[in-house]
């Protein structure tokens, strides 16, 4: 009896050891973004205060991870726990899939206490980016809340990336996303619609394995 328990323990600890984690970072070009710090942007600057997003239904090495990630720039560390140490390929959804959305409220990282659920209209917010754009001495706030799954505006995006032998992290590069600030389009997107769909497309092309 005791022996078999020992074997069981050994088995489990081996299982745990075979697990690895891959950090998730948010970048602007080659620089890692820090909350509240200012970055140079064109001739002016940008301060990023909030970056929060969901990575869900993550598939690595052919098997689906038991949990996704609510990335939050404010947290010290953001990482995905993966069953293997080497990533050949990763697939994930940026946001929350429409089936989960249509079932109403979920728990864990999907608990609305995390501030990623819309209240005046239902559905999870897939991605949040907030900060201030300083341009010619004028400070202008920007708020991008990207989400929505109904009425033809489904903002979930499935992303597939190929790895190489020495993948060390998953990066979201906000370079393209932030370029939209220099156009004269609205700097506050808080509801589902065409603009949110376009931004979701940009974000879907902004993930990299490095």
């Amino acid at each position: 009896m005791i022996r078999s328990i020992q074997i069981l323990i050994l088995f489990f600890s081996l299982g745990v050891r075979a697990q690895d984690s891959i950090p998730v970072k948010v970048m602007y070009d080659r620089f890692e973004i820090q909350p509240g710090k200012t970055i140079l942007f064109q001739d002016d600057s940008i301060r990023i205060d909030v970056v929060k997003f969901y990575l869900t239904n993550v598939v690595v090495g052919g098997s689906e991870l038991s949990s996704g990630l609510l990335f939050d720039l404010e947290k010290d560390q953001n990482y995905l726990l993966i069953p293997i140490s080497q990533i050949d390929e990763i697939q994930f959804t940026l946001g929350v899939d429409s089936l989960t959305n249509s079932n109403g409220i979920s728990g864990g990282i999907l608990d609305p206490i995390h501030g990623m659920y819309w209240s005046w209209q239902s559905g999870y917010i897939n991605f949040k980016l907030e900060g201030i754009h300083f341009e010619n001495g004028i400070a202008e706030e920007f708020n991008f809340h990207i989400g929505g799954f109904l009425n033809g505006y489904n903002c979930e995006r499935r992303i597939q990336l190929q790895g190489s032998s020495n993948v060390s992290r998953l990066e979201l590069d906000l370079y393209q996303m932030l370029q939209t600030l220099s156009t004269d389009q609205l700097k506050k997107i808080m509801s589902p619609g065409k603009r949110a769909m376009d931004l979701a497309d940009i974000l879907a092309d902004s993930f990299f394995l490095r």
Partner: protein, 340 residues
Amino acid sequence: MRLIAIFFGLIFLLVGFRNNQSIELIFPSSWPEPIYNDDNYPLNEQKVELGRALFFDPQLSSDNTISCASCHSPYNAFTHVDHQLSHGINDRIGTRNSPAIFNLAWQKDLMWDGAIHHVDAQALAPINHPDEMGSSINEIVQKLNKDVRYKKAFKSIYSDDLITGERVLKLLGQFMISLVSCDSKYDRVMSGKDKFDEQEKRGYELFCKNCSECHKEPLFSDYSFRNNGLEPDPQLKDIGRMKITQNRMDSLKFKVPSLRNIEFTFPYMHDGRYKKLTEVIDHYDRKIHFSNTLDPILEKGIHFTTNEKVDLVAFLLTLTDKNFMFAPEHGYPKDFFDQK
């Protein structure tokens, strides 16, 4: 070893049984099947009870003064009377009239414009609204986690006493889904237990001919979004369903409300512009405002003689379900709040 296993098995069974007081919605057999799918989260007596406590608890607002029941009182079929637009914390006034809450299990979309697609998500709207409860689910969860009455109740339902946003919202959902109103005089007439008087009968015929296309029996709504010809209020500038779908064809469309308990759910319409049923009927008779999205059924208005109006109102009053409104299991849960 085996004894221990049996022991744990027994405990599991006991806990299982205690948590398994599932309940079913009771409604007339002639009704359609509910849309609410309770396979994921079956209705449970204890959960409905705890959801009721949350519904009546002013701790859900930032200054502990307003509960869901403040705007959705059971004695008015869970709506707010005497104010056109609902009042929230600090007496701030919202932009819409609070709808009555019952038979939600048959509704796909909630709110006048269908903004909410699931009953469990519903509570977030008033909780976060600065003019309604002005709080956040996070703040509420923190408050409730300090309240021993809730700790105890959560423990007995979930086996741990953790109060999460998910649980709070689903409990409120359970209570609201359990609210079924199906015991009006109309229902008794339909099941052969009662009879309309002559006036009610004439009213019912007028209703079937003129109103039931939208206010469809037996729920008295088809829960579609339509423009019933209300002149838009220049101050509120409420575009209705279009806000959600961003489709011009949905401009000025609002959800067809059920007419059950209509005697008690005044004021009427999404902005509460009418106080009396006779005013509503006058609206259909001669105040239809023409616009691109006006429902074709109403293009020529619906005209009634004075007598017909009286008959129609007499019929509408048969939709009152006092047993629903005054059911003790829908009222203030005194026992819960009185515990120390």
